[in-house]
Point group: C2
Chain length 386, copies 2
């Protein structure tokens, strides 16, 4: 039985050691790179702008020609000679060093009446004002956002080197499972859905999931499925993680590699198991859907995010708790809540088999292991369900 | 010139009227539906579980057989007759109404010694405990998350009806623009990047962008591009929005439909223009990249999110301001900030042409039009750049 169970903190420490950030890299065209993480610094090979650029519509001039000039004392400059019409964004030609705004000029035949003094560089973006050759514009580890990508494009960069997405193999196990939607259910059967949930979350969390077909409660078949999955960066086995006769997953992990943790002080999700096979992390999730969800969020997510070089923070809102959240002392527990008129309303449900309790929730509250729950009126952090 | 400019609030009101939530719908397989928004309530046609399900490993029994039973006073039940071995998740057969946990039993030959009283329904998830036939499980407008999709799959649902993504046509204009990466630049030329940034953001914001090729500063060509884009739900024209001779975009909108707003009291992004053509919203963004970015976030984003039935809230963090943010009174302004040791550090830059100022920023602070800025030490909301 689950003796001297480790805490979630201990489990995370063990997991962290097994989930180093992925070092494999790939090249991607810019348009496919949003959300991806740079595998090296990007140093600019170009200036931006790479010419002296007019920042206003008006006339390019030599600043010394406008010295002391004002509306009372304008200067008349020869158009095309000492005052060149120019538009925002165009090159200020060699020999000119400032732009007089259109509003400060009047055209008088071949001459331009200039009514304002402009200093050297006025209304001109000089070469390299935005980025200079040799500038480190984005650093290794930076997650690319659209304006970053626009900047790279502006510098003539076409591809970026990014870390590859961690590959996650997902193995749903259980004799009661039927591939979803394949045929009507008989008694004692259910559709496979935990693997689907894991697959969809792995994608949202920046990974590349591979969902295997349903594997029956047969240790040989589970071994086979795990063997075929060891090219992945993480293996997730779902179901059969407890201590019953047919709970083969922990024994398979132990036989193929090292069983590190069998059972964690978290609720739901206590039977969650963890080990390593050929240095690959293998996590066994319990088959009850709320337990799967809890173990996904509290354990799999930090592991995957770490491998993917992505931040772990979950978007949260602070809210008043509308009702008591009870919790088992010594266990970290995850309580589903709905946000109702900005209050956090715990969703009362009997067990971790109730999938609809997550569908009805906007987020969840984590009760630390040292507490017996939260009281109504307490301010809690509600982690929003992605 | 920009006279009596409307505020961003007025601009948003006008935009809201032009951006009703999309009513077109489509059917999607579950696996493609994360992040999509349901176009109608989903009512369950099935019970979950659809059989009385054992919630523990143990023996299915008739509860009355265990009345008064304890470790001191066990009862001996005939195995296979009045005590059926059962595993978690399997069907509790007709005629049995409770499950005794394995821990409370000992096998004695053909008999099972039961050492605990179980009441009717104990350790059994009855038919429909999770979801009953006729339950509304998810409502119109709900954004699908992995556990919602798992629940639908558990109920045997294979496809969902969702709102289609709003289509956005993006028209970059400007004689200085060169398709990105196509060839080296000549003086006065720049690569087209604002259209790319808009395309990538439209995708992140739940829309389907279509980026057109670069259109020169020629009103006829702009008209042509707009005409070919009127199948979209929103048209975004970039560049040529100001009041110069070659700023054709506002005039094109006026000639083809209704020019509603030309210039907004926001900084950067003042020349942003808005109108409608055949009831479609047409937004003209200024060509300076920081102005494009500002108008995208403050105007295009709320419009697109509204059309896409998605929430508008931007993830934000509260931070101490490290330095003063100056701002033009009467204008809403957007100031880029980097988060440095949990403080918000404004990025000092001369103008809205400096694309690298966004790449260096983690987020932005919005200064309301009534303020002249924020002082160092003030607590500000930093909107994180997606």
């Amino acid at each position: 039985m689950f003796q001297r169970l480790p805490s979630i903190t201990e489990a995370l420490q063990a997991l962290t050691a097994l989930c180093p950030p992925i070092q494999r890299i790939e090249s991607l065209p810019l348009v496919d790179s949003p959300g991806r993480v740079l595998s090296s610094d990007i140093t600019s090979q170009a200036n931006l702008p790479d010419f002296n650029r007019a920042a206003m519509d008006g006339y390019a001039v030599r600043s010394q020609d406008t010295r002391g000039v004002s509306t009372q004392a304008p200067v008349y400059l020869d158009q095309g000679e000492s005052a060149l019409p120019i538009r925002t964004g165009l090159e200020v030609p060699e020999g000119f060093d400032a732009v007089v705004m259109l509003e400060d000029t009047v055209v008088r035949g071949r001459e331009v009446e200039v009514m304002a003094e402009v200093h050297k560089g006025r209304n001109v973006s000089p070469v390299g004002e935005d980025v200079k050759v040799g500038d480190v514009i984005l650093k290794e580890g930076h997650r690319l956002r659209p304006p970053d990508i626009a900047l790279l494009a502006a510098l003539g960069i076409k591809e970026v080197q990014v870390y590859v997405k961690p590959k996650v193999a997902i193995i749903p196990t259980g004799g009661e499972l039927v591939p979803r939607g394949s045929r009507p259910l008989k008694p004692s059967e259910v559709y496979e859905t935990n693997g689907l949930m894991t697959e969809l979350y792995a994608r949202i969390w920046g990974c590349e999931p591979r969902l295997l077909g349903v594997v029956p409660d047969d240790p040989d078949k589970i071994v086979e499925a795990v063997k075929s999955s060891l090219d992945a960066d993480m293996v997730v086995i779902i179901g059969g993680t407890s201590v019953g006769e047919k709970d083969y997953a922990p024994r398979v992990v132990g036989s193929m590699g090292k069983l590190l943790i069998h059972g964690i002080r978290m609720a739901p999700g206590k039977p969650t198991t963890m080990g390593s096979i050929r240095d690959k992390p293998v996590i066994c999730l319990p088959g009850y859907p709320v337990a799967t969800f809890t173990a996904l969020y509290l354990l799999v997510r930090p592991g995957l995010k770490r491998m993917a070089h992505l931040p772990e923070a979950i978007t949260s809102v602070r809210a008043n708790l509308a009702r008591k959240i009870p919790s088992r002392p010594g266990y970290v527990s995850l309580s589903r809540v709905a946000l109702v008129r900005e209050e956090a309303m715990p969703i009362m449900t009997s067990g971790s088999g109730i999938l609809s309790s997550i569908a009805r929730a906007d987020g969840f509250v984590i009760v630390p292991e040292g507490l017996e729950g939260f009281e109504p009126g307490e301010i809690v952090d509600v982690m929003m369900i992605e």
